[in-house]
Symmetry: C2
Subunit: 138 residues, 2 copies
DNA sequence: TTAAATTCCTCTAGAGACTAGAGCATTTCG
DNA sequence: CGAAATGCTCTAGTCTCTAGAGGAATTTAA
């Protein structure tokens, strides 16, 4: 049986975060010691690793909750799990596209500024003041 | 003189957001009508456009506050403004890199799943359960 | 065995950038 | 003038944690 601190050390998930996941219903409420402290076993460790992994991939809590619930029905088809992952992939790709546009605009603005002008001539400031100096439609 | 609703319509910034920017010190506290309602003039409109533009580029409130304060000293050199924009550009690029790694991992996971297996064989679920199936170090 | 050190508990609040709603006041328009 | 629209302040909610207070349990060292 592991204490919450043990679990934290083994997974790299901070103690308050573990309690938070329990509160959010991702981890089942742990057994308690006589003194009311949480006690975990191997299964909890695996599930926490699952959660951590999914979070690292950027999935949000509700998506993870859904995946966990799916994984508890091993005989169902996995179309739903596929959809969750695919949707997320799509969202990630969209975010990348947005950030690339941003990057271009920022790079353009910065490239006009050598840090050597007075503020009143600064391209950074002027670009922000005057949308007309922009390329795209952000 | 514009009401807060007028200002909102002209800039596309929602009314509560305008009040929020005032509270955050980005917009100076507006003049008030006899009945205590905010009244704006052209200068406020320009500043709000500046703020909106900077937010669209992803700059956070404190960076914008700094840029505004810089823009009020037109004779200072613009190195600081340049640094703010450059730092942000760097952060955007880093975020893009992270998301690209994520995208690859997700794409790999999804590509192994045709949505047609049982959950217990689902590559999406298995990947999350077993970090060993991963490519990179996320 | 007992004292000290560490870990644990719950609860509340804060981060960032808004958004929504309650309950009431002002302004505008017909 | 009266109704509708807009405005005001204040509080609380979003999301995923993180930090801290104040106190209890557990572990380690003397």
């Amino acid at each position: 049986m592991l204490s919450i601190g043990d679990l934290s050390r083994r997974t790299g998930v901070k103690v308050p975060t573990i309690r938070y996941y329990e509160q959010m219903g991702l981890l089942a409420a742990a057994e308690r010691s006589e003194g009311n402290q949480r006690r975990y076993e191997r299964g909890d460790l695996e599930r926490l690793a699952f959660i951590r992994h999914a979070r690292d991939l950027g999935l949000d809590i509700s998506a993870i909750r859904e995946l966990i619930s799916l994984s508890e029905h091993p005989n169902q088809p996995c179309a739903d799990a596929d959809r969750i992952a695919s949707d997320h992939l799509k969202a990630v790709r969209e975010k990348i596209e947005k950030l690339k546009k941003l990057e271009q605009e920022l790079a353009r603005i910065v490239s006009h500024c050598d840090g050597d002008h007075a503020i009143e001539d600064c391209y950074v400031i002027r670009s922000l003041s005057d949308h007309g100096l922009c390329d795209g439609e952000h």
